[in-house]
Amino acid sequence: MSVPPARVSSVAERWDRERVLAREPARPKDPRAAARRAQQRETRVASGLAELDRWLCDQARQGLAASQQAGYGHWDDIAARMVDAQAPGLAERLRALASVPHSGAGWDGRLLEEYALLHLLVVAYRRRDELPAALRETIRSRIGFSLRQADVLAGGPPVRDHWQVLARRDLEQDRIRARRTWLRGRKAGRDALLLSFAATGQSLDDSLTVGTDADADLVFYPGAVPLRAVVLARHDDSDGGPPDGGPVAGLLAGYAAALAADPWLDSWPAVLEVTPARAPAPAVRDTDGDALPLHPGAGDCWPLFALSGGRPVTLAGEWTPRGLWPLTAWDEGGRAVTL
């Protein structure tokens, strides 16, 4: 299955987008000047967030019903102001909202969800001093504060494992292509997300092949739910073989626990043992009878159905609030098939 270009949504991706377009500035020489610039940035972000909250409250006050008539400019204007306020993560989230009023039944609920979560982000940033350090990092990254990769690599302890390369999803927006690669440690079972970016026309990082295992040291970005990681060192690759697919209940419980720590988390790795179903709507069902809908944007998923033939398959994908986005399934020979 080819993945259609979709909006790049997460803040972390937004940050890297900016970095691809404008080369990362060199580490400042003068620490006092750097501290002053950092303080200025906090001030600008704080006033930008205050403006965003006024805008959000205006929407709730006047009612969302008018959003269906609003053009893209409605969201682009406030997004541009968030760029000025040096909060690119928020700008990205706002730009992505323009398509929600035309996303079919339930659009009003989805728009309210997004406004509410942005509002929550504003409130959380305002009260950041009361929050645990890890959650503070999550909030800052979702707003768009950047971390240098070198600082990340130096900051956390490396985690070595045989990382199964579960799935890969490419997204495209404007002039930037983003690649999300989902990993799971074979020994410790920990999930990791690698992000890479390239300008259109340039090739994305292709060093990890879906369906293989990579013996590697990863360093995780700090956060309330540390998922995003960067490769510190590769040791060896092996053939891998299918991962252990779990039940639906386990996935939902894992996602709920992660949400409790990071309420903005809207993409969660899923590795399931399921049978695809078409009725009443495209879905997958496990042996307990628990079903999950497939994401409406993932199309009709015929290759997944053809692969399963009505029998359970091991399936890796992204679980999102709108449904499961299937990405990789393993065939009868244990080979990974990209959907």
Binding site: D53, L56, C57, D58, Q59, A60, R61, Q62, G63, L64, A65, D108, G109, L112, E113, Y115, A116, L117, H119, L120, V123, R127, V248, A249, L252, Y255, A256, L259, A260, P263, T275, P276, A277, R278, A279, P280, A281, A283, R285, G289, D290, A291, L292, P293, W302, P303, F305, A306, L307, G309, G310, R311, P321, A329, D331, E332, G333, R335, V337, L339
Partner: protein, 437 residues
């Protein structure tokens, strides 16, 4: 109505005109730090709380998977073969898809399950007049393809072919009749021939369809009377199909007539340098055109007078393309390779094309290999005729037995038709190798 829906409704109307519904779900934490004064902020606060609660507390749904497909005894094609099929479905050498499928079916390999949707979609888009791809896709897809056809009405042609019966013949559409006849021909060649003979009163497009079905299968001399009679048909297309089929049939009377005409057009002048040294092919194109030639499907181009050189050359080409190739090996007492080695300069594109067409029609690998090896060594690819013939030839010759390199002027730039032919030959060679059991 749920609390969430109340919140959505209030947000649609706006807090200017609607109140903010209370959120009373048990288990939700009480907000520390008091309640905001602004009702809009309060609404967003409560919506945020419920959004996360609903996402985290989402229950699993229900769904009913379809009954499982029957297991398929045929082993799947190798991973490399599957990857190549995926590339072809993605647009690389799509014209070789039928060959991949034919080879897979012949070796009892099935197409990888996950590629079947793309394969069946491709087959569905081919016109009903060329049903080969649909039949082959259904065969290579096996029981999984039939299972998919039960789920997606777009692919019913997969099962329709298996169900074709006498009713399909009497009452069905042209494409259903075609499917029925194709299956009958594969199972019972004589029965299919009798059915065609009995149904010959049908309209001309139907008669063309009958003959095109016969063209897809093996012919035998038992088919000759039917085809010979069709040479006198009042429809041009029917006549030309019949002539084409008869020229493919070893030992046919049409083949003997063509051989006689052909022998008058090409001879060998022995060289003066010694046995077989400096031997030359000498051409004398036919200088008249008669009704017997017309009956055998030989038509001067554009209806012009056969006295013009162009039309004479054209007639020569048509005769060469229809004459049995054994005419030449017998007449000259040489192998195909030796004869092709004599191809003379100005006549080379015509002889190459005429013999290539004959070799492809008669499925004569010896001649095809001799001709393509000669062409790859720098043959008459500068002409449009030669280049087009090479293009078709490279798709038909056995790639394992033909050269897959040019031997012409190493270092010089390879002409594009030769480069393309080599690319196709290598692609086909790898493709067939990957499908080996």
């Amino acid at each position: 109505m749920s609390t969430w829906q109340d919140l959505v409704t209030a947000s649609l109307i706006g807090t200017e005109r609607a109140g903010v519904p209370a959120v009373a779900d048990p288990g939700l934490p009480v907000r520390a730090g008091g309640v905001p004064d602004d009702p809009a902020a309060l609404l967003l606060d409560r919506a945020a709380l419920l959004t996360v609660a609903r996402r985290g507390g989402r229950p699993a749904g229900q769904a009913e998977p379809p009954p499982a497909a029957e297991p398929d005894p045929a082993p799947a094609a190798s991973p490399a073969a599957g990857r190549r099929l995926a590339r072809m479905l993605g647009g690389e050498h799509p014209d070789l898809l039928a060959e991949w499928l034919t080879a897979a079916v012949a070796r009892d390999r099935r197409a990888p399950d996950h590629l079947l949707p793309a394969l069946l979609d491709r087959a569905r888009r081919t016109p009903p007049s060329g049903p080969e791809l649909r039949l082959l896709s259904a065969q290579a897809g096996g029981s999984r393809a039939r299972w998919l056809a039960g789920l997606n009405p777009d692919w019913t042609f997969v099962t329709a072919q298996a169900q074709a019966d006498e009713n399909a013949w009497r009452l069905g559409s042209t494409s259903q009749r075609r499917d029925y006849l194709t299956l009958l021909r594969a199972r019972d060649p004589a029965g299919a021939r009798d059915l065609v003979t009995r149904s010959w009163e049908a309209a001309a497009p139907e008669r063309v369809m009958f003959l095109s079905v016969l063209a897809d299968a093996d012919l035998s001399l038992a088919d000759e009377p039917l085809l010979e009679a069709a040479l006198d048909d009042d429809n041009t297309q029917v006549r030309s199909w019949a002539a084409h089929l008869l020229s493919r049939l070893p030992g046919s009377a049409l083949g003997r007539r063509m051989a006689q005409r052909a022998r008058g057009c090409v001879r060998i002048d022995p060289g003066v340098l010694g046995p077989h040294l400096g031997d030359q092919l000498v051409m004398s194109p036919p200088d008249q055109w008669d009704m017997a030639m017309r009956r055998d499907g030989l038509l001067p181009r554009g209806g012009g007078s056969p006295q013009q050189l162009d039309d004479r050359t054209h007639l020569l080409l048509e005769i060469l393309a229809r004459a049995p190739l054994c005419t030449w090996t017998r007449e000259f007492g040489r192998t195909a390779e030796q004869i092709v080695g004599l191809l003379p300069g100005p006549w080379a594109p015509v002889l190459f094309t005429g013999w290539s067409r004959a070799a492809m029609t008669q499925r004569d690998q010896e001649w095809m290999i001799a001709l393509i090896n000669w062409a790859l060594a720098g043959g008459p690819t500068g002409t449009r005729l030669g280049a087009e013939t090479l293009r078709r030839h490279a798709r038909r010759v056995d790639p394992a037995r033909s050269a897959r390199e040019t031997t012409a002027s190493p270092g010089a730039e390879i002409p594009p038709p030769i480069r393309d032919a080599i690319r196709v030959l290598r692609f086909r060679y790898d493709m067939l190798k990957e499908l080996e059991p």
